[in-house]
Point group: D2
Amino acid sequence: MAVLNWGMIGGGEGSQIGPAHRLGARVDGLFDFVAGALDHRPEAGRDYGRRLGLAADRSYGDWREMLEGERARADRVDLVTVATPNATHFEITRAFLKEGFHVLCEKPMTMTVEEGEEIVALARETGRICAVNYGYTGYSLVRHMRAMVARGDLGRVRMVVAEFAHGHHADAADADNPRVRWRYDPAQAGISAQFADCGIHALHMASFVIGQQVERLAADTVSCLPSRVLEDDAQVNLRFDGGAAGRLWTSSIAIGRQHGLTLQVFGEKGGLRWAQEQPNQLYWMPLGERLQVIERGEAGLSPEADRSSRVTIGHAEGMPLAFANIYKDLAEVIAARKAGRTPDPAADLFPRAEDGLRSMAAVHAVAASGKAQGVWLDARPPMFR
Amino acid sequence: MAVLNWGMIGGGEGSQIGPAHRLGARVDGLFDFVAGALDHRPEAGRDYGRRLGLAADRSYGDWREMLEGERARADRVDLVTVATPNATHFEITRAFLKEGFHVLCEKPMTMTVEEGEEIVALARETGRICAVNYGYTGYSLVRHMRAMVARGDLGRVRMVVAEFAHGHHADAADADNPRVRWRYDPAQAGISAQFADCGIHALHMASFVIGQQVERLAADTVSCLPSRVLEDDAQVNLRFDGGAAGRLWTSSIAIGRQHGLTLQVFGEKGGLRWAQEQPNQLYWMPLGERLQVIERGEAGLSPEADRSSRVTIGHAEGMPLAFANIYKDLAEVIAARKAGRTPDPAADLFPRAEDGLRSMAAVHAVAASGKAQGVWLDARPPMFR
Amino acid sequence: MAVLNWGMIGGGEGSQIGPAHRLGARVDGLFDFVAGALDHRPEAGRDYGRRLGLAADRSYGDWREMLEGERARADRVDLVTVATPNATHFEITRAFLKEGFHVLCEKPMTMTVEEGEEIVALARETGRICAVNYGYTGYSLVRHMRAMVARGDLGRVRMVVAEFAHGHHADAADADNPRVRWRYDPAQAGISAQFADCGIHALHMASFVIGQQVERLAADTVSCLPSRVLEDDAQVNLRFDGGAAGRLWTSSIAIGRQHGLTLQVFGEKGGLRWAQEQPNQLYWMPLGERLQVIERGEAGLSPEADRSSRVTIGHAEGMPLAFANIYKDLAEVIAARKAGRTPDPAADLFPRAEDGLRSMAAVHAVAASGKAQGVWLDARPPMFR
Amino acid sequence: MAVLNWGMIGGGEGSQIGPAHRLGARVDGLFDFVAGALDHRPEAGRDYGRRLGLAADRSYGDWREMLEGERARADRVDLVTVATPNATHFEITRAFLKEGFHVLCEKPMTMTVEEGEEIVALARETGRICAVNYGYTGYSLVRHMRAMVARGDLGRVRMVVAEFAHGHHADAADADNPRVRWRYDPAQAGISAQFADCGIHALHMASFVIGQQVERLAADTVSCLPSRVLEDDAQVNLRFDGGAAGRLWTSSIAIGRQHGLTLQVFGEKGGLRWAQEQPNQLYWMPLGERLQVIERGEAGLSPEADRSSRVTIGHAEGMPLAFANIYKDLAEVIAARKAGRTPDPAADLFPRAEDGLRSMAAVHAVAASGKAQGVWLDARPPMFR
């Protein structure tokens, strides 16, 4: 497979997200990092890009300069990753889609539902890919859960129980820590803190696995630290369009939990349990039988699981390679388009603009329900109602 | 300590609860089983009692006969356990309390809140003990959690997360299984199935550990099996009178979970996690430190934990001995009363009529909230408002 | 079933083993505690026995007095438990067997192989039961492992891997702690410390489960604390009479391990893993399939497992009830003898004098091999060669 | 840091080891893959190399051609990875070292101890790096264990217990499976099967962590499948040059274990436990305190741990990135040499020719001791005695 050209906006020196994306794009050798506008300070960005090996004329000072520079080139980037501050995702993503680039946008894709709908419409209109980076669905066994549900191993899904609970914002002394404080301040973070930050990963994973989208929800949002305006703990009850019900708990004050993204799916014919912190084992009980342990890399898993797995059974794979699977998917789909062939269906699993939009609608519904004593609200974006 | 006289109503041949109580009462040698009315069929009960070693004149044909027989005796039973069908608990408990007996009543203590209030009032008036059998709070490490909260190890409790989720009623083929079916039939089970059966254990444990009572709740109740009228899955959001918030999930369709009673408590200064299926370890993370494992039986635990523990560290203790701790508590408190001394405060932990009443009020609130789209309702019994 | 009469020698006030035996004998209501010689100080023993409810004439001052008193009675004890200091086990056990009593002897049954052979011969000659208290084989799932091997689920057993490693003697400061020190002093403890104390539990369990006896062994014994003469850590390689090989590691300096009795059995057709600290789950992988979790109390287990289990699935059972299963077995076998019927074969699992003897021979072989650079030695008692 | 030039010998199309090395070398962007001789069939190798992006003139037909081609170039490869069949490692590694290349050799470095000594001598003489790929020591928490021991957290190390037990060769039907069969055939595999394949990883890790080298050992080797000449299960007792003792068990018939590389280290002041299958948690009990969980990525770990960790706490990292840490180390040390600066000491942790030699000597000692009834043998290479 020919190596694709890849560029990045944001992810400058010292950021966490920049190295993660570069690792994800690089690890399978499917993308060459050839262009970037890495910093909001033009000179710092150009310099850092050159130090990372970009050619001088493709290490840009800002995203507009990059858009100008790349759209004219025959060897222009096949994919642009947008990893800038949240408030700028919409504008940049829109601009690159309009010029015909495929985009991988960090979450949240937009700040409002309306913007999300515009991106979805634009992606459909231009026929460009707009992927959104819910990287946790890249895990091999998460994809296997999806395949198991899709092929009917569980029968009808009755209930999905998702959690994303950690304790990293539990210290009251962090009230003045700027790295934590902004997250709970509506002026900087918008209408939701913990649900928007973590809860939507759990919700997206639930939808991804059961193949259903949330229709209605009711939320109980709590600020456990009195100094906070936005919620640091939320319980959300869910109803999906395929008939499943759901419970989702997310918290940032759950001292003792490091990460706490877990998913349980209960169907007519069996139950599944998976946890992000031990991602190489999946617990499966077929109705009336014993609990059994499905291992990443074991023989006979689904094509979706196999394609997302790199080493043999018993050797843990972790988050960086799950993340890399989003890039691996994109490489396959983009390369297939360029070659005029059908992509491997097991690759066509990356989250899309529609997912980014749905998350935004869910965030709004959670915030509104939380303020209104847990009333049930429509969680769908207007364009999908 | 002198051995106390103990009697039992219900728990006849073939029942599960009978042997459990007899084991619990016998294991520490604190009670002699001397009287019983074990079966609703008088002859069967008398015969079974004699075979279990009761004297012929104290193996009664029914509870009224037993009440008559015992109240006249100088060596009358010090404690009566009521383990009859649910609908009879109130009448029997009331009758024995009135005659001055101490009672341990199986849960639910009554079928209505009003009856529960009557029992509470009667226990207070007569000065008799009316214990209710929430046996899971007998575990040594559950009692240690309570002690840790009470002495301030966690600081203010912010959030308690309780679960009691199993998968034993997940088989649609059980729709016609009489052992399962009645539980979801309002004519036989009342207003709630899974919450009333399992959820109240989790709620009682949460209250017991954090030392706060639920004030308000909002419930989402679901019947995952379409054939069921009553709920087989419920999510309940909680507010406690000491300021804590809570989440409680209970389910009987969670295939892959055997028992699934777990408790997490998050405070200002640390977090706790405990699970009934591995009851000898308690996970504790003090804020800013590492997760650590507290072992049942380790040196330096609270008096409450030590008193409820029988073997050395590393040797699992299980449910039967947790249950026995309720009897051990009762023996100490009853013996202390008889001797005119103060009981060991570490023994004074058994659940009481007030707890049975609160559970009943919570069941009603959950059922009502579940029907009313999850509206928040007062969960307190009227007499405690 | 008629209640049997039970007596105890040793287990006086303040001992750990006394309450454990009394709980084990009492928990199922199969034995009445009617006689005892509980302390080496006659008056203290008599007084304590009376306080525990013994009749004055059956609370004896020493074991000889008890032997005299009981042998004359029509209602003499059906079973005598010997829980005195190790060096006295042989003499007391021998005396009671000779007078026709059934005996349950604490481990080690004797101090020498010769004494062990004498007890075995005496038990055979008198037709009395001489049980030895390896209580860990009382666990329901340990018995299920044995049943699985016996019925061929694993095919031929190839390898058994046993551990009993804890860290409770790891503190060099305990060199002067009298509760620890004597264990490593040949003058008080004999020829072996950690293997004799813990290793033989693991070895007995291995033999019990695979239904084979050790023939030869080679040991590496180490004193990790330089102040110790006897070993605090030993690795023993094993060959069994049915063709299996084995590895056994035992240690008392393994800081971080609380108890650490585990067993793995690998056969042609599958592998098993069990750990005493989580005794209610058994991990089983049939060749070519997935690891699955066998739960104590699940439907369809072996009769041996079912008979040794008291509460429903998902409710942990622990060490005290495993221990009680030895008493439950003995009650059934003794009652069957008295009634002239065949005992339940699922009850006939308690360890016997032969097991006590084999352990003693293994202790001697380990000590001798350890001194001789790990040479392979015959581990069988002479009478079984 | 300037990107280094990297080349590979072996790892052709369809191999497992080729992609693993390319991923490891690529993931941090520290090496450019610029040259290779990937297949023993010259044309297949050249073709595959070109498809992987090598320039035509650097996609060589065999290793000799590559040696010729590269030694003449100014931009010659900075590091050559040798991932050819085992019997060729020595010759190729020697040839490249002689020409002044740094080499990363797959294990086993050589087939004999003599060859191993020659490589060690050559590496010392030329001043070139000869690394050997024991990739499991690349895990962040394995390196943290080493740092904890080195800085004295455990005090003197008393005992190290290592395991590498899996069940992937347990099926007797595999006697004719060529992918398994050769491993137990002395004609193809040499003098040892399971110890040489897996055991040496566990032994190297033990040495790496405790900072001591094995001096003497005694082995019990068993062929559980009767059709096998070489061992599929071995227990090795160890004595290290710093005074520690050790136990090492390795097996390929342990059905139910997927990988089973674990390490426990017990010192005067605490104990450690780590398992390759859950590599992001390290269990640590300081003497007299509670067991605690050290998480990869937590604040305050050693520089060695931090340098080998890429994502934040709670996000699992797995084997591919552990493996990549060997490349990351090499990049730092090679780059430092080129720049004439001191390398980061936390990078200087990759296994070296000396380690490859020691493993070979241990393999010979295990095989010889196993044949000689477990006699203790010197496990050191002659040049280190």
